[in-house]
């Protein structure tokens, strides 16, 4: 077992949202509500979930771009706390979703990549130019592009610049938040393959966040599924593909359009994701769950190990819809 790179323990990030401009009452949105996981070096942990499930907040909180409400984050064995984040700032980097807004619009490409080198004094001044060029080549760009401004580049090229910036300080962890979602499919595959190659060359660990299950499956060794601020299932990719334990994971998998399924079976979820400021009682998924039972309305399931190495937060993780009595009727 390689040593843990990142340990996240019972992490919470809550936001106060004022219910109206003139009221003093505020609601609390539990964007991240008790998340724990561990990542080892060189591993890709995929994080999948729908909009509003808290996956982006989790990414930003793990990197201390937002201070956690409670919980502990250990990076390379060191517990993180403000203001001393030098080790994290150098050892962990982020790749963003939008290649248009994530690069400073009026800074030359070489300067964008150079800035982290300047901040952390990674290499002596006279080697910086070579270093920047080497990084450009590593992400598949010509060093000539160093003098370009971001708006002169295509979306795929910009995303490569963003990757080069993240790699400049030689991090061991890269958090990729929807890193390919805004790219055209023909360019998306190039970036995914680039990320995989860089991982092999440099032993990077990725926390790879996406709403796209296909992309997450392609990239990840393990996958965590998030629903309403919590991880509801965590498994090795192969195991998850073979058999998903949580009904939400199953629904998610069946909702993704498939080239081979025409008019086939699909698990239907009812309703819409609930308002995160007023989460349902018991299991937060029960109002939409096709196999909800009376207990689900009152008792919150723990993230338990149901099969060796398989955790899921569901009272009936080993059952299917057929095993259980019909779904309870919603309360009037």
């Amino acid at each position: 077992m390689t040593r843990p790179l990142l340990e996240v323990d019972d992490l919470h990030k809550h936001f106060d949202v004022r219910s109206s401009r003139f009221s003093r009452k505020s609601k609390q949105v539990r964007a991240v509500d008790g998340v724990s996981f561990t990542m080892t070096e060189g591993e890709t942990l995929g994080l999948v979930g729908e909009s509003g499930c808290g996956k982006s907040t989790l990414a930003r909180t793990v990197l201390f771009l937002e201070a956690p409400t409670s919980g502990e984050i250990r990076f390379q064995g060191q517990t993180l706390s403000e203001p001393d984040l030098t080790q994290l700032r150098r050892g962990a980097q982020m790749i963003f979703q939008d290649p248009y807004s994530s690069l400073p619009p009026r800074m030359q490409v070489s300067k964008i990549i150079n800035d982290p080198l300047l901040i952390h004094h990674v290499v002596p001044e006279d080697e910086m130019e070579d270093r920047v060029n080497a990084l450009l080549v590593a992400v598949g760009l010509s060093p000539d592009l160093g003098s370009a401004l971001p708006h002169e580049l295509s979306g795929g090229q910009r995303q490569r610049v963003g990757i080069a910036r993240a790699l400049a300080v030689e991090p061991s962890l890269v958090v990729a938040d929807e890193a390919v979602s805004s790219l055209d499919v023909s360019v998306q595959a190039q970036i995914l393959n680039l990320l995989k190659e860089l991982q092999e060359e440099r032993g990077l660990a990725y926390l790879f966040i996406s709403h796209d299950l296909g992309v997450v499956k392609y990239m990840s060794h393990r996958i965590a599924v998030m629903y309403l601020g919590e991880i509801v299932e965590l498994a090795f990719t192969h195991d998850l593909h073979e058999r998903a334990l949580h009904p939400y994971t199953r629904a998610l998998m069946s909702a993704v359009p498939s080239i081979h399924r025409r008019g086939g079976t699909r698990i239907h979820l009812e309703g819409e994701p609930p308002d995160p400021s007023e989460p349902p009682s018991g299991c937060t998924f029960h109002p939409r769950c096709p196999m909800a039972q009376p207990i689900c309305r009152v008792k919150k399931p723990e993230l338990d190990e149901w099969l060796p190495g398989r955790v899921a937060a569901c009272h009936f993780a080993l059952s299917t819809t057929d095993d259980l009595p019909p779904k309870i009727e919603a309360e009037p």
């Binding site: 729908e50 909009s51 771009l65 030098t86 700032r89 150098r90 962990a92 980097q93 982020m94 963003f96 979703q97 994530s102 690069l103 400073p104 619009p105 800074m107 800035d115 982290p116 952390h120 370009a148 401004l149 708006h151 002169e152 295509s154 795929g156 963003g162 910036r165 400049a168 055209d184 499919v185 023909s186 360019v187 595959a189 190039q190 995914l192 393959n193 995989k196 709403h211 796209d212 299950l213 992309v215 499956k217 392609y218 990719t237 192969h238 593909h241 998610l252 998998m253 909702a255 993704v256 359009p257 498939s258 080239i259 081979h260 399924r261 025409r262 699909r266 239907h268 979820l269 994701p273």
Partner: protein, 647 residues
């Protein structure tokens, strides 16, 4: 819709320094050119006043007092005449320009720098710094600035240019600070500033290297308008005797002195008045021009449909089809360049059929859809072809008829339903408006019709939805409302442009199921536009794959995904990570980038990226060849062996 916009944006001229572009933009506006000439003349006059002027501005010659200008009987020595003390008016005007510009430019510089600094601090640091600075600004704006200036200047016995600059300049900060602050607030939330934080850049570094370069450009535009205001204020103060003390030359002072001799020599007041007018007008003309150039939204024209007037091609055999598009081409003229967004596209949609149109950005899929209902964004226009819908050519029918067809016979839904709904009207209100337009409303009960329409798209409690506003509903619910409105008219054809791209997959599945159900029930043809080939593989009867404005492949959905005829389709299928298969196989990425829609290569547009490229592909753009029954691909691989391909 998004496609059309992205095409237009990509078409922006490649890298030309912003300054050069602004100059070129200004040069195209006659009023701005006129203003620039005026400003240049006045600047030259002010700078070279000591050389140009033939007299000292304050040298008196009582023998020559109150001479008229040369056109009014004066002599050439004093071109514009003299004032009551015999001073040369022309010289005084020149030196007046010098003083006036020195004071107003100095004040503008002081105010803008002060405003830039405070605006940056307030926006970036926020919190108490922000509250303090902005409340100070509020107080200052509430206090009548001119009175303050009068009070301060009145106590100064010996006023010089420096005093004037301080009094006029300092109060200007708030105008700049407010605008800079709001720009900083929006910039600092952008991901690139977050990225700078995650690489460990300190607050000052983020402000200096990341935020400042993106916000300072607002300052010159305000500054230009500010200068005009300052010139007038300076003249007003001088007129009131609170500017530079006599005998200094100043336009306001000249105006005040001239007033005393108004009847004897009206030119004494008219000339400085004209000087002020011309200066401020010139500056404002340049300022307006600059604002136009820097804000492209103001220059983009509004939508105007253009009828296709070209010769009508031979009618096509479209007996089975509800919609037959033949040889459709759409262009966006952008300055000197022309973006060929759609080129010679052919396809049919049969009654009740679902046609899935797949393509990446710039493929022309959305432009094709918008040209069917003749709602192209300006300056797009259909340049050739036919759009035969139920026997009528939509590219050639008059506006009135196409308006009647939109909504009633052809419905359309877009990617962002919240943008298509009016945010300040309740859903009920908007649905009622749509329902009253229906001819089919038998009983006249609009409410009942609205409820029926919402139920038809799977909304269980229509009453609640009708009472709510778009912002209270989720994206999925808003899209259902849009579908309900579109389908209530029982259209023959519904065009859905990326209807679920902004939604979650579980919601997407629900919406698409409902869409399929309602179109099947009403026997409506559906054109489903998407970037997701798996989505149309599941949902469409026929798939049309578009690339770079052309049809790459068209055929039955099951055939296109199982036996794709075009290398692009094959590459697209291989490059999408799939949720339904186990990973482990490396994705086959398509090398290279999407082509630039403005520069169309002579051959096949996919040739530079194609793994099976042949020599002919570089030269000849392939027509559609038959792959199998009802299955075509625009690829030379399918060219009949014996047939000769003509260029």
């Amino acid at each position: 819709m998004t496609d059309a916009i992205s095409v237009v944006e990509e078409a922006a001229p490649r890298q030309e320094a912003a300054g050069v572009r602004a100059m070129r933009g200004l040069a195209r506006r006659p009023t701005a050119v006129l203003g620039a000439i005026g400003v240049a003349v006045i600047l030259v006059a002010a700078v070279f006043a000591p050389i140009i002027a033939s007299f000292e501005p304050s040298s008196q010659d009582l023998a020559q007092s109150l001479r008229p200008p040369v056109w009014d009987g004066g002599d050439v020595d004093h071109l514009l005449g003299t004032d009551a003390l015999g001073r040369d008016v022309a010289s005084r005007l020149l030196f007046g320009a010098r003083n006036s510009l020195m004071i107003s430019l100095g004040a503008m510089l002081l105010g803008s720098l002060l405003g830039l600094a405070t605006g940056l601090a307030a926006g970036f640091f926020g919190g108490r710094v922000d509250s303090l600075l902005m409340r100070l600004g509020d107080i200052q704006l509430a206090f009548p600035f001119i009175l303050l200036a009068i009070a301060i200047l009145g106590t100064l016995a010996d006023r010089n240019v420096g005093h004037m600059i301080l009094v006029l300049g300092i109060p200007g900060w708030i105008v700049y600070a407010r605008v800079v602050r709001s720009r900083v607030l929006s910039e600092k939330e952008k991901e690139y500033v977050l990225a700078a934080r995650s690489v460990g850049a300190s607050g000052m570094r983020r402000l200096r290297r990341y935020v400042l370069p993106s916000v300072w450009q607002v300052v010159p535009v305000i500054a230009l308008l500010d200068v005009g205001f300052l010139i007038i204020t300076e003249s007003t103060l001088s007129f009131l005797g609170l500017g530079l003390p006599p005998p200094a030359a100043s336009w306001g002072l000249m105006l005040a002195e001239g007033r005393k001799n108004m009847l004897i020599s009206p030119w004494l007041s008219i000339l400085p008045g004209l000087a002020i007018l011309v200066t401020v007008l010139s500056i404002n003309l340049v300022g307006d021009g600059l604002a136009d150039v820097l804000d492209p939204r103001l220059r983009k024209g509004t939508f105007r449909r253009r009828l296709l007037r070209g010769p009508v091609p031979q009618p096509v055999g479209a007996e089975r089809a509800l919609l037959s598009v033949r040889d459709l081409s759409v262009e966006f003229p952008m300055g000197r360049r022309v973006i060929k967004a759609v080129r010679h596209v052919d396809f049919d949609v049969r009654r009740g059929e679902t046609l899935g149109v797949v393509g990446e950005s710039g493929s022309g899929k959305s432009v094709t859809a918008l040209s069917i209902i003749q709602l192209l964004d300006a300056p797009g226009r259909v340049t050739s072809g036919q759009i035969i819908f139920d026997g009528r050519d939509l590219a050639r029918i008059p506006d009135r008829e196409i308006r009647e067809m939109r909504g009633s016979r052809i419905g359309m839904i877009f990617q962002n339903p919240a943008a298509s709904l009016n945010p300040v009207l309740s859903i009920g209100h908007q649905m009622a408006e749509a329902m009253t337009r229906l001819d089919s409303l038998e009983d006249g009960d609009v409410g009942a019709a609205s409820r029926r329409a919402l139920r038809s798209v799977g909304i269980g409690d229509p009453e609640r939805i009708l009472r709510q506003y778009p912002f209270q509903l989720s994206g999925g619910m808003n899209q259902r409302v849009m579908i309900a409105i579109a389908m209530a008219a029982k259209p023959d054809l519904l065009i859905a442009d990326e209807p679920t791209t902004a939604l979650d997959v579980t919601t997407q599945a629900q919406i698409l199921d409902e869409l399929r159900e309602i179109t099947t029930r009403q026997d409506t043809s559906l054109i489903l536009i998407t970037h997701d080939i798996a989505l149309v593989a599941e949902r469409a009867d026929t798939i049309l794959v578009m690339y770079a404005g052309q049809v790459a492949e068209c055929g039955p959905a099951s055939r296109v995904v199982s036996e794709p005829g075009h290398p692009y389709t094959r590459a697209l299928l291989d490059s999408v990570p799939r949720a339904d298969i186990e990973s482990g196989v490396k994705l086959q990425a398509i090398s290279g980038e999407l082509p630039d829609p403005a520069t169309v290569p002579p051959g096949c547009p996919f040739a530079p990226r194609c793994p099976e490229v042949m020599e002919i592909c570089q030269r000849v753009n392939p027509p559609s060849f038959t792959v199998a029954a009802d299955h075509w691909a625009a690829c030379h691989l399918w060219a009949p062996q014996e047939a000769e391909v003509s260029a």
